[in-house]
Symmetry: C2
Subunit: 329 residues, 2 copies
């Protein structure tokens, strides 16, 4: 018998198929990169088209060699220049499309992934995110920063070279707003953080736990939308990612690397989307929120069904996914 | 300059790209069917695998020849048998996956589409929906019926033969719940139906209006998520689709046929998803809601971006889409 499970944060229902459960070997999805001849992110191409460099981490030993590099997106979907003006148009609301759209080039090495990068390299990526969060928080036009990584053509990725996108927006995006609403409803009822309760529950039950260390846990969420969905959460309550300290960031890098090594062992180098969800900024800050990372492997085709109904069909129970990932090594 | 537009019902923000606006000729997406040798929906194959027939409309002149046929899905994602029991599991909520999953075979003719079917044939399809809504409303386990049509492989469609899916669920799906929440918020503030206000506004402005008749309008919504998104709404306030009367259903069929003829003229036979959104049933009924049809052509690849952020990037302003569709003939 399959089950309907409710995501406690967003209230979204998911059909978890137990009878025809799919195991990792049932999925054969590759990253399927369409390779460009000249990678715009490889060292030596930095000055082409005059990308504006916003932040860089260089190596200690070899001077001038960058390890992580942040540039403005060449085709930004949001315009950095201008003021945020909210305009009524008849009964509708609109505003100028102001925001920041940046690319974080995560490594100088074209073929690295979060599974093959070192812990220090991953640490540098997250440290870079932190610096950009702090810088953009100063810009009072913005309410939110989002990090998105589309890995593989099937996940909307265009270029193989390891990179992620940063968006700073003058609105709180719907994905975050839904989680905030759920968080506040739960807090109003229980006077506790729902994410903290999830961390405690999953550490107690262990059946959906993939890995944990003193600062972070990686779990297969109870109402996973897709096979092998993973959520990485800080164990202690922290609303804003940018408050992360050095030691925690090392623990973060460890849990991310181990998660991706396990994913790659079980699923191969599969397409996935990664999102970093953190509290909005400044006066829109929500202290009850709990930042986290969502990883959504794209192993099945999302049909119109999920889109039109807002409920997902997941053929792999999260308990099975977690068991497979735990047993990967 | 591109714009951020807010969907007045759900509060979702959409980036409408004006500078690099894409015209119909910029899209080359075909339905791309993977044809099966033996279509399970074609006349003559009805008895194979003993599909349970739930409803049928037969032609007046030729006895025993069906025009629309409803059968149980052979691989239902919801189980029709059993009771709805809500179960707590630690801090989480789940229930047995109870529901109905039916297939409406819209025509005996394998190659017909909503653009090539006659008005009477389309009327029969909607009349069939109505009968199934009424029948399933009697089953007190269900709160909602949804109609979904996935046309073309790129829209999650599996079989070319014109058909749609019906789902009856013991929960109100998130897609409907979001619209209900927005509708009730607007009603609390304005004491008017937001959909009725949209109908009036679009009939007055005309720039996003595609076609209208005494009972229905087809518009390109102000905050269209995808190029050439279309919404078909009843002009008068009606919360529940199943209350549709014969004359309105004829007007409905006319507006649907004309919409799809225009779409096909401009975009070719492209992949799309169609959703029929109606109020939940019985004690979950929301009289402030306003039933409607959403048509989402799948001309662009939805990347992880929309998924992770909940905001969409649409390269075709709805005013341009509506103008093209108005001028199709």
């Amino acid at each position: 018998m399959s089950e309907l499970r409710k995501d406690p944060i967003t209230g979204r229902w998911v059909i978890i198929s137990v009878e025809r459960a799919k195991r990792p070997t049932d999925f054969t999805v590759s990253v399927d990169w369409k390779e460009e001849k000249l990678c715009p992110f490889c060292p030596g191409h930095e000055s082409e088209k005059n990308d504006k460099e916003l932040f860089v981490i260089t190596s200690f030993d070899k001077q001038n060699e960058w390890m992580v590099r942040v540039v403005e997106d060449r085709y930004p979907i949001l315009d950095f220049h201008g003021e945020v003006e909210r305009i009524g148009e008849g009964m509708y609301d609109k505003m100028d499309n102001i925001g920041a759209h940046e690319i974080i080039v995560e490594s100088p090495f074209h073929d690295k992934t979060l599974a093959t990068m070192s812990i220090e390299e991953i640490y540098n990526v997250f440290w870079t995110y932190k610096q950009r969060f702090l810088a953009l928080k100063e810009d009072k036009r913005f309410r939110q920063v989002l990090i998105i990584c589309n890995h593989g053509y099937g996940a909307g990725g265009q270029l193989k070279h390891p990179h992620s996108q940063l968006l700073a927006t003058p609105i709180v995006p719907k994905s975050i707003m839904e989680e905030i609403e759920g968080t506040l409803e739960y807090y109003a009822y229980k006077e506790r953080c729902i994410f903290c309760d999830i961390v405690r529950e999953e550490l107690r039950l262990k059946e959906r736990l993939i890995i944990d260390n003193p600062s972070f846990i990686a779990i297969a969420p109870f109402a996973s939308r897709v096979p092998f969905e993973i959520c990485i959460l800080p164990v202690e309550h922290v609303s804003s990612f940018e408050n992360i300290q050095e030691e925690e960031a090392m623990d973060m890098a460890r849990v991310v690397k181990e998660t991706f090594m396990r994913m790659e062992k079980i699923l191969g180098d599969c397409p996935y989307n990664l999102f970093l969800h953190s509290s909005p900024f400044n006066k829109y800050h929500v202290s009850e929120y709990h930042w986290h990372i969502e990883i959504m492997p794209r192993l099945t085709k999302l049909a119109g069904f999920e889109w039109g109904t807002g409920f997902y069909i997941n053929p792999t129970p999260p308990e099975m996914a977690a068991e497979q990932l735990r047993g990967a090594f």
